[in-house]
């Protein structure tokens, strides 16, 4: 099972390694981890995407809550939250392929950040689904370099019962 943890922690040294260490001890790979400041200067939000058995992930959530520096742990559900990731990718694109690559970039709303004789570097953001399809489309041309931020996420604040999430 794939699970998105949104963890609010005190902005203290060593917290990130403590949190990720809990996953490592149980032998669970973290697919992505992203941390950054929040509206509160004393708190950092860490978003972790991990694979594992449901019970183990549940257990990890409990263990995270036990840590002094962990203020909140939320296990986010895809259909009740907004998730985003930023991808930078350099794609092989000789003159004859360049238009195709730019078209794909355009279709996905990606920005072009650099073009050389035989490569295009682009920047795209989106939810999991979108970034996956984009990367798959670009792989056909050959991705020579890629960096991803890892997923960040927030739960939706719901207003009414009939309200439908957009993303």
């Amino acid at each position: 099972m794939r699970q998105v943890f949104s963890i609010l922690v005190n902005n203290h040294a060593g917290v990130l390694s403590h949190v990720s260490g809990l996953f490592a001890r149980r032998g669970y790979n973290i697919e992505s981890i992203a941390a950054g400041p929040t509206e509160n200067p004393e708190a950092t939000r860490i978003v972790i995407v991990a694979f594992g058995e449901e019970e183990t992930l549940e257990q990890i959530a409990h263990q995270l809550r036990k840590l002094y520096d962990v203020l909140e742990v939320e296990q986010l559900q895809y259909n009740r939250s907004v998730t985003r990731e930023l991808v930078l990718a350099t794609v092989s694109a000789d003159a004859d392929k360049r238009t195709e690559v730019l078209q794909i970039a355009n279709a996905f709303g990606a920005n072009i950040v650099n073009i050389t004789d035989n490569t295009v570097t682009l920047e795209a953001s989106g939810n999991d689904h979108k970034t996956r399809i984009l990367i798959k489309a670009l792989e056909r041309y050959g991705i020579s370099n890629m960096a991803r931020t890892g997923m960040i996420a927030l739960p939706f604040d719901e207003m009414t019962d009939e309200w439908e999430p957009l993303a």
Binding site: N10, A13, G14, S17, H18, G21, R25, E55, Q59, H62, Q63, R65, K66, L67, Y68, D69, V70, L71
Partner: protein, 588 residues
Amino acid sequence: MTAKSSTPTNLRSKTLSGAEIIYRCLGLEGVEFIFGHPGAVLLTLLDLFLERSKIKHVLTRHEQCAAHMAEGYARASGGVGVCLTTSGPGATNLITGITDAYMDSIPIVCLTGQVSTSVVGNDAFQEADIVGMTRTVTKHNYLIKNMADLAPSIREAFHIARTGRPGPVLIDLPKDILLGEAPFQVPEGEVDIRGYKPRTKGHPRQIKRVAEAIKEAKKPVLYVGGGVIHADASKEVEKLATAADIPVTWTLLGAGAFPSENKLSLGMLGMHGTAYANMAVDECDLLIAVGARFDDRVTGKVSEFATKAKIIHIDIDPTAIGKNLPVEIPVVGDAKQVLREINKLVKRQKRTLWHKRVDRFKEDFPLTFEAAEGGPIKPQEAILTLSEEAGGDAIFTTEVGQHQMWAAQYLQVSFPRHFISSGGLGTMGFGFPAAIGASLARPDKLVIDIAGDGSFQMVLQEMATTVQYGIPVKVFILNNYGLGMVRQWQDLFMDRRFSEVGLEVGPDYVQLAAAYGAKGLHIEDRCDLRPAIQEMIKTPGPFILDVKVDPDELVFPMVPAGGANRDMILNDPRKKKPKGRLSALPDN
């Protein structure tokens, strides 16, 4: 009209040195003893012990023992144990003790010196990243970088160590913090930590479900662990067991939580538990776990553990619940508070049939050993005799090995905090320093370390500590000239190929005691056992009784590692006519 400015007394603060602030904060927490070993970074703090008497520093001969003494003090008193070491090797020497406290949920606060904040991270002389190293074996730890954080962190550390599921907390104190100065005022109000709010009150709906399950059960068993002792909930356990007529089994750490002489008691369960405890758990239809964590030494093969039972799990630590096996009725809360609520709902009940069945287990599969006239002293009889002579008021600690299991099987323990052993980590060398800590906590009690020769040899330098401070700890060595428990596994599972387990060379313990200025005695004849124990008890001061026991004796019953408790080996397979296995017992 002129307004006169005045400062309320509680806001007036004095400027004090870091060392002074630490001393005062420890005083405010009610600390009586600090177990420690010095080093250069601690000079200003150590200096305070010269003229003041509120807190006594006990100079241990090894830092690992300082941590175990703090544990022994905590476990015997119910308070928080404190230890203090220098940076680098002093701090790293604590790690085994800290881990032991973490595994067994013992509240201790460890203060370690550290190099100055300006060079932290530079591999300075005697620098060790003790905060990084102990992150996974402390409830929480602090590296103090600002004077303003010092007093609040110490206060938080004690709060965290003693509340919720107790455990060790470490505070790393850089030299410039000890030397620095800051305003100090006595803190007021409750400690409030945003990310740390243990839940103590059980959910009323869950408590109702527990009461109903108890009422409906035909064959319930109470399974109590160290949490009952930490929560001071023994009376509540006894009340529940008596009212609802439920037999009680305990873990190694739960020994003393329920009086072993009570007719409802089943003794310890698990790998070396009594056959009747394991049988009762195997057959029960309701297992009520209180402050216990379904450790693998208790459950054996988890999928075969208590398969017929509905499981209730009462624990203050939500991560302990459902960790090893599914639980029908989880209750998160403090054992004492939760049991009180349950007791209000539980009606008197009699379970004659179930007790008949359990009595039959007890009759058919008792704990046994054979001692022959003129033969060697059997370790079991040594412990039985010790238990009789010491009486119910003594406090026992143990080392780790066969002797520990025999102690758990054969000692009569009537009160909580009277049996102190290393469970989760199984640390050889725990018992002797723990006994020293326990003796300081309870100077009115006879304190005896039931030791193995191997374990004692890991920590015997602390004889000096007992003599220096006149701590009257008795070391009762079941001397089998070897690492008996490992030898037992080689005996049973390695075709009796005894590799690296012989301790034929060891000290003469009587001379060793004398070398430190203590008394000692050596015996090997069965007829000397009782008189020697009597002499040990009546001799004032520390004492070593070296009891040469049969080195071939093995601990039974035994559940082979990974096996089901039901398939425990009841008797020594090397002898003829083993009594059979649990599965052989017909259902009634």
